[in-house]
Each structure stands twice: as structure tokens, then as C-alpha cells.
């Protein structure tokens, strides 16, 4: 298949475009997502190419967007909707938790809801507390929902394609800090654009990266780092910074979770550091820590460490103190290497 260097925005756009071309039941809508193509331009050109009724603007009602998508999905369509920022997904929370997640179960499979809810998430863009949140764990707790987070253009397209084709509702969080380049958390250094990266060589046609398979971004012997989204790149930088031979695992999908890859790695390394941007308490790192501990207890040589956002809202002026950067991750790596005491 021909490939092309793409940034993450282009890769996501291409995934939707390819699916819309292939399947007339796929359509896309959201706030400013039609004519304008979305505030981050992920749905750019789709209206022009596929027509007004297949890519359109929606009223500013996140609950209405998800509810309408659910109704469409039970009709047989595969709507891909955009929530402008993950910080604004809460008004739709009831429709996602009480409806999307439960319609298949409560109807014994009579009705199903193959919707994809895309939403840019995460910080590092000076967005303040309402343009920076990482609410993924609020969805991983909900049986019936799938939760997917890519870290690079190649996966973004492959995973979004899988999400659209998936017969279950998928919440697809896009690390907006990575839209234009692989940001590693050294925020004072210039960011290199995606085109220099292998994972930005994206096939122009259709391909699928299956949900539930992690990607080992770096093999290593000493410690396993579990990360997703922007934190994958921060973790790679941190491993280098700390000079630790870390195995960096990009989870890619939190639900379903690739427990095998995690377990194999931690059993090999005997150590584990978990990194995410969301606040610590009840973040997805808690679940990962619990799972690793349950399954690898007798292999662990040090306590599992979590490096996360603080238990505060995301503060505008303290972006880089809040953001788990490579130094904080490196400190955790070193601590874990020395037994965590």
C-alpha cells in the first residue's frame, strides 16, 4: 500500500475519509465539525467530499450528539462523532454510561450501538483546566464501553478504523499535544514534526490496528513502563534521561486491555512504572497497578510506581509542574530501580 507522511490530524482524517468512502453507513458530526472541519481540523474536507448530510455541524449539546448517534446506530448506521474537547464530554456522560454501554446488554443483543466518540484530550497546550483534561478512567470503569488512545499517526488511523468498524461503542481519545508532532515533554526544546518518524508513514488506503493489542515501543530488561497517548513519548525520553533499560509499552487501548503483553513484560523486568496525565486518585494507573500486582506479585522487586497528574484541577500557570514530564518519570524509574524505598 502506498504510504505518505502524515501528522496525527491527517491520519485521523484519512481514517474517517476512507471509511466514509467505503461504507455509506458511516457519517460524522459534531460541534464545528462540518463545514469548518472541526476546531482541530480532523474532519476537514469531509463535507465537501462526502456531502452535507454525511459530515455536518451539530448543536452545542454533547448529550444530544451522543444520543442522536445512538439512535442512528440502532438504525444501522456507524456514526463517528466529535466532542470538541474531552473536558466537554461530561454533559454526554449519562448517554454514554446509561445507554451506549448498556443497550446491547439490556436488550440481549437485539439493539447494538456501534458509535465512535472522538475527542481531543490531555494537556501541554496551555489550555487551562477546561481544555486539558484526561478523563479516560471515568470510561474504563463502565462495562460496555471501549476506550482507545493512540500515540502516533500510524496507530491513530489504524485504531480509529478499528473503532469505527467495532460493533461496540468506542470512546476514542486523541492526545491533542501529539496532533502535530511527537512531544516528549522537554517543553523548552523545539518539537520535531511527525514527518521525521517511522510511525508517521501512514498508508493512504485502509488498514486496521486491532483494539486490545499494546505496542512495545522500546524493548528493555530493567523495568516496564506502561503508558498511553502523550506519555508514551515522555516515557521514552525519561528512559533515556534516566539511563535505564526500560521496556516502554504503549497500551493503545485501555479497554480491552492487552494484559498478556503487560504481564509478560513485568514478569521479565520485575519492575513497573505507570505514567498518565490524569489525576492520580482513581486514575487508570490505579487499575493497572492493581492488575500488575495481582498477576506479577511474586516477580516484583520493587513497588509499582505511578507518575501522574496531581489531584488538583489542571492549572493554567503551572502547566509544566502539573504535566508529568521526563524528569518526574526518570525519578520514578531510578526510585524503582533502587527498590522504591
Amino acid at each position: 500500500m502506498t504510504t505518505q507522511p502524515m501528522n496525527m490530524i491527517q491520519a485521523l482524517n484519512s481514517a474517517i475519509d476512507v471509511k466514509m468512502t467505503e461504507d455509506p453507513n458511516v457519517l460524522s458530526f459534531g460541534e464545528d465539525a462540518g463545514y469548518f472541519g472541526g476546531v482541530f481540523r480532523v474532519t476537514d474536507h469531509l463535507q465537501k467530499k462526502h456531502g452535507l448530510t454525511r459530515s455536518f455541524d451539530a448543536p452545542i449539546s454533547e448529550t444530544g450528539i451522543v444520543a442522536a448517534a445512538l439512535g442512528m446506530a440502532t438504525y444501522g448506521l456507524r456514526p463517528v462523532v466529535e466532542i470538541q474537547f474531552a473536558d466537554y464530554i461530561y454533559p454526554a456522560y449519562d448517554q454514554l454510561v446509561s445507554e451506549a454501554a448498556k443497550i446491547r446488554y439490556r436488550s440481549a443483543g437485539m439493539f447494538t450501538t456501534p458509535i465512535t466518540v472522538r475527542s481531543p484530550y490531555g494537556g501541554g497546550i496551555f489550555g487551562g483546566q477546561t481544555h486539558s483534561q484526561s478523563p479516560e478512567s471515568l470510561f474504563t470503569h463502565i462495562a460496555g464501553l471501549k476506550v482507545v488512545i493512540p500515540s502516533n499517526p500510524y496507530d491513530a488511523k489504524g485504531l480509529l478504523t478499528a473503532a469505527i468498524e467495532d460493533d461496540d461503542p468506542v470512546v476514542f481519545f486523541e492526545p491533542k499535544r501529539l496532533y502535530n508532532g511527537p512531544f516528549d515533554g522537554w517543553h523548552e526544546k523545539p518539537v520535531s514534526p511527525w514527518k521525521t518518524q517511522d510511525l508517521a508513514q501512514v498508508p493512504t488506503g485502509k488498514y486496521v490496528e486491532p483494539l486490545g493489542k499494546a505496542r512495545i515501543m522500546r524493548e528493555g530488561a530493567d523495568v516496564t513502563i506502561l503508558a498511553y497517548g502523550t506519555m508514551v513519548w515522555v516515557s521514552l525520553a525519561a528512559a533515556e534521561h534516566a539511563g535505564v533499560d526500560a521496556e516502554v509499552i504503549d497500551l493503545r487501548s485501555l479497554v480491552p486491555l492487552d494484559i498478556e503483553t503487560i504481564e509478560t513484560s513485568v514478569k521479565k523486568t520485575g519492575r513497573c512504572v505507570i505514567v498518565h496525565e490524569a489525576p492520580k486518585t482513581s486514575g487508570f494507573g490505579a487499575e493497572l497497578s492493581a492488575l500488575v500486582q495481582e498477576r506479577c506479585f511474586y516477580h516484583l522487586e520493587a513497588p509499582i510506581a505511578r507518575v501522574t497528574g496531581w489531584d488538583t484541577p489542571y492549572p493554567h500557570a503551572f502547566e509544566w509542574e502539573y504535566f508529568p514530564g521526563p524528569e518526574r518519570v526518570a525519578d520514578a524509574l531510578k526510585a524503582v530501580m533502587s527498590g522504591g524505598r
Binding site: L27, T53, P59, S61, T63, G64, A67, A68, A69, L70, G71, M72, A73, T74, Y75, G76, L77, P91, D94, Q95, S98, E99, K102, I103, R104, Y105, R106, S107, A108, G109, M110, F111, T112, A143, G144, K146, D166, D167, D168, G212, V255, P256, L257, I259
Partner: protein, 410 residues
């Protein structure tokens, strides 16, 4: 700089009557039968504002069908409607009793509201999806859904079509155009709009119909449904079943003392019809009007069905604690079964004897279904196999569910 002449005070609305008081319905605008005009289906919402405030009625006190909304149904249809309402009531009676007998944990009746779902279920084909609340059992019954399947659901037994997953009465039937009921109020309303949008998107000809209670119009989903319906001109019929009560809260707590529920359509530019919900013919005619509008690509209609919740909210409720005991008797719009019966008798198409026979027949149908369902088992005596608990969470079981299922040993 403040200009108050007297201190502010908080107003909390109260119903006209509480237990012990005499019922008083003087606050409800009642127009006589036949007085509301029937606008063309293509009329703009703004040009028919009156219909958001008036009351469309067809049957008069003598059981005669009067005025422009008379749908002129043939006697066969009328008798089918009457029988379906009778059957619905008989079903409710028996299942309510089944609860007292410990056969189920829960039941909800629609007593006094039968005309709505029955007429609409008959009028619209099953291909048109209904997004119901928990008081539209009449839709399934009117469409001939097997009573025994309803009971199996209520008993969560091994034959329950939805495998014991839901609280009793939360039916689901794709084939009968009955969307899986949600326990969460209001959520179905914008979903119906989305379903209707999908039909329009596909260039199909199916429309959606949905119901919400007076109390539940306060939910957010009501607003998003009407917004989306108006903006995308969705082919959907949006019913508000105003049965005067929301558990113990009278409709004033949802704003019903300030204006009509039908008038909620005005702010979205949607046409509204306020209808006597206990008048089978009025319900039919208004629905047919909305159906024509939807099918001809002119979009959604909001219909307020003015009715009265004759029964307790559910088997967990005791209305004698919060409303006058005889409110239902005094309800000015009467009983839908009585009124259609009277109409058919007035037409010379029905008799008291036929009524008695129809009632007996309904009881017998319910009894037979009950026997069949109870043979499978009532709540706790029979149920689907335990391993189904882990199915249908996702399209395929993930490792967590496999492990958890194994932990249960199934």
C-alpha cells in the same frame, strides 16, 4: 440602589389537592369536543400556536365523534382498538396481582392511559420504531406481541427474551418496533430523533415515535431531542404523556402550572398539538396528522396527551399518601375504555353484552398466557443460565469476562 418594595420570597408550587381534599382540576384548560380547527399538515408551527394551548377532542359526552379532527375510523378498527385497550387493562390487573403474590418484584400499570399507546401502536406499522417509557405496554399489546413473552420478561425466567437482564416491564422487541426500555428517564427521547434522522439519511420511509412523561420533560434529554428534531427536521412524533403526576410530584413541579406542556414545542419552532389523551379518536387523529407531516419530510410534531395516571406510580407506590383518593374518578376526561365503548354503542356497533364478553375474553387470554409463563417459572423459580450474565456486555467477551465467568464456575 435597590428598588424592592418588599422582600423576595421563594415560591414552591403546590397541587390543588392533597389527601382529604376535594379534587380540583379547574387549572387545566379544557376545550369542548370539536372546537379546535384542523390545520393543513403543511402549516408552520408559528401559524398554529393555538394548538399548543387548546385541546383537540373528538368524542363528546354522548359518545358522538364531532369536529374536523374526527378520523372517521371504520367499526372494525374501533373494535380492535377497544379490545386492545381492554386486553391491556386486563394484563395490568393480572400482573399487579402477580406482584402481590410474590411472582415478580415490580410492576407498573398504565390504567387510564391505554388509548395513547394502543391507538398509536395500531396506526403506525411495526417498521416505525417506538421509543417508549414504561407505560406503553399498550403498543406491544396492540401490535399482537405475545403476552407470554411480556410475562417471561416480568418473571425474569428462562424464557425471558432479554435473559433476566432488566427490571420487570422493561421490554424490548425490535420486531415489534419497541425499543429497549431504559430505567433512566428521558434518554430515549433524543435517541428516537437520531433513529429518525438515520431513516432520513438513508432516504428510507420509516419514522420514529417516542413518549415521555410530564415530569420527565424537565430532563436534559427532552431539550436535546427537540433541538435536534427541529434543526435536522427529523421524521419523529414526540409525545408528552401528561398524566398529571410524576410519582408524588404533581405536574406543577415540572412547570405545568405556568403553561401547557405542548407549548414547549414553540421555542423550537416545532408544531404542537394538545390532545385529549383519553379520547381514542383524538389520539388517532392527532397521530395521523403528525405521521403525515413526518412522512412527507416536514419534520417532527410534539403532541401533549392530556390524561391521568389512574394507578399508583408502580407497585412500590401508594398515592393515597399524596393525592386525593377520588381524583381519578373526578378526572374530567373520563376513562378511555368507557368512552370508546360508549362511542361504539352509540354507533350501534357494540353492546354491553359484547363488552362483557370482550372483558372475559381478555381475562382468559391473560390467564392462558400466565399459565404458560408460570409453567416456565416466576421470579427466582426459573431463570436463564448464569453464564448469560457475562454475555452481551461486548460483541465478544474480553479476558476479564472470561476470567470472571470462570470464577463463578460457569
Amino acid at each position: 440602589m435597590k428598588k424592592n418594595t418588599q422582600p423576595l420570597s421563594l415560591r414552591v408550587p403546590e397541587p390543588t389537592g392533597r389527601p382529604g381534599d376535594a379534587p380540583d382540576f379547574s387549572h387545566i384548560r379544557m376545550d369542548g369536543p370539536g372546537v379546535m380547527a384542523r390545520p393543513e399538515v403543511s402549516t408552520t408551527a408559528h401559524a398554529m400556536l393555538d394548538h399548543a394551548f387548546g385541546l383537540i377532542r373528538v368524542l363528546d359526552d354522548e359518545g358522538k365523534a364531532v369536529g374536523p379532527w374526527n378520523p372517521r375510523l371504520d367499526p372494525v378498527t374501533l373494535r380492535r382498538g377497544l379490545k386492545a385497550m381492554i386486553l391491556t387493562r386486563a394484563f395490568d390487573e393480572r400482573m399487579h396481582r402477580a406482584h402481590r403474590q410474590g411472582k415478580t418484584s415490580f410492576y407498573m400499570k398504565c390504567t387510564g392511559e391505554e388509548a395513547i399507546a394502543v391507538a398509536q401502536g395500531m396506526l403506525l406499522p411495526r417498521e416505525d420504531m417506538g421509543f417508549p417509557t414504561y407505560r406503553q405496554q399498550g403498543l406491544l399489546i396492540a401490535r399482537g406481541y405475545p403476552l407470554v413473552d411480556m410475562m417471561n420478561q416480568i418473571y425474569s425466567n428462562a424464557a425471558d427474551p432479554i435473559k433476566g437482564r432488566q427490571l420487570p416491564i422493561m421490554y424490548s422487541s425490535k420486531d415489534f418496533g419497541f425499543f429497549t426500555i431504559s430505567g433512566n428517564l428521558g434518554t430515549q427521547y433524543p435517541q428516537a430523533v437520531g433513529w429518525a434522522m438515520a431513516s432520513a439519511y438513508k432516504g428510507d420511509d420509516k419514522i420514529a415515535i417516542t413518549w415521555i412523561g410530564d415530569g420527565s420533560t424537565a430532563e436534559s434529554d427532552f431539550h436535546s431531542a427537540l433541538t435536534f428534531a427541529a434543526v435536522y427536521r427529523a421524521p419523529v412524533i414526540l409525545n408528552i404523556v401528561n398524566n398529571q403526576w410524576a410519582i408524588s410530584s404533581f405536574m406543577g413541579i415540572a412547570g405545568g402550572m405556568e403553561t401547557t406542556f405542548a407549548s414547549k414545542a414553540v421555542g423550537y419552532g416545532l408544531p404542537a398539538l394538545r390532545v385529549d389523551g383519553n379520547d381514542f379518536l383524538a389520539v388517532w387523529a392527532a397521530t395521523a396528522w403528525a405521521e403525515e407531516r413526518a412522512r412527507s419530510n416536514q419534520g417532527a410534531t410534539v403532541i401533549e396527551m392530556v390524561t391521568y395516571r389512574g394507578a399508583p406510580h408502580s407497585t412500590s407506590d401508594d398515592p393515597s399518601r399524596y393525592r386525593p383518593g377520588d381524583e381519578h374518578e373526578k378526572w374530567p376526561l373520563g376513562d378511555p375504555i368507557e368512552r370508546l365503548k360508549q362511542h361504539l354503542i352509540a354507533l350501534g356497533e357494540w353492546s354491553e353484552a359484547q363488552q362483557t364478553e370482550a372483558e372475559a375474553d381478555a381475562v382468559e387470554q391473560v390467564r392462558a398466557a400466565g399459565k404458560e409463563s408460570e409453567a416456565v417459572g416466576t421470579l427466582g423459580q426459573s431463570r436463564p443460565s448464569v453464564k448469560t450474565m457475562f454475555e452481551d456486555v461486548y460483541s465478544t467477551e474480553d479476558w476479564r469476562l472470561v476470567e470472571q465467568r470462570r470464577e463463578v464456575g460457569v
